[in-house]
Amino acid sequence: MMMDIFIAFLSTLGAVAILFASIGILRMPDFYLRLSVTVKAATMGVGVLLIAAAIVFSDTEVTAKVIAIILFLLLTAPVAAHMIGRTGYRSGISLWKDSWIDDLDGKYKKEDKEL
């Protein structure tokens, strides 16, 4: 019984984190803010759901599989977010009107967007 409550708590945490990520991708005003909200919250939610699965099955094979998936997500999600963010900046997506700092301003050449 105690175990069921713990599993329910973990999976609710994961599902609510994923829900926050999707609300963020819908409501944020800007591509960069959407990117920054989405990747972290979704990775945390999926990681917590997978940990809940590992606790439910409590099996060496399943735990190894879950650790492999979580490590892969933690390695690849920031790389993919960086790549798509750089592509968005280089293809000239403008910032939100109230964003007042742009560290890359003037670092790229205007015509071909190379450093």
Binding site: I25, F31, S91
Partner: protein
């Protein structure tokens, strides 16, 4: 309230709602990059749905599909960003 009922009535509706919300962004996103991150979020939510369903059904075998999904999401985002960079030149 058993764990199966809790998954049926709370966890799966929350995950379905988040897929629907990110699908709205995929539909109306003003730029291609917005659509790419919406697609990435949908696939990541799919991994979560697979994990929740494998708990619900008691089948640990479904987690292999989640592993393949994680691979495909990364490769898809990288391929889209390469394609968009190449197209601009």
């Amino acid at each position: 309230m058993s764990l199966e009922l809790y998954f049926d009535y709370v966890i799966f509706p929350i995950l379905t709602l988040s897929v629907i919300l990110s699908f709205i962004r995929l539909y109306k996103g003003p730029d291609v990059a917005d659509r790419v991150i919406a697609l990435d979020l949908i696939i990541t939510t799919g991994i979560g749905v697979i994990a929740a369903y494998s708990i619900r059904a008691g089948q640990a075998l479904f987690l292999e599909v989640a592993m393949i999904f994680a691979l495909i999401a990364f490769l898809g985002t990288i391929a889209f960003s390469f394609y968009l960079t190449r197209e601009k030149k």
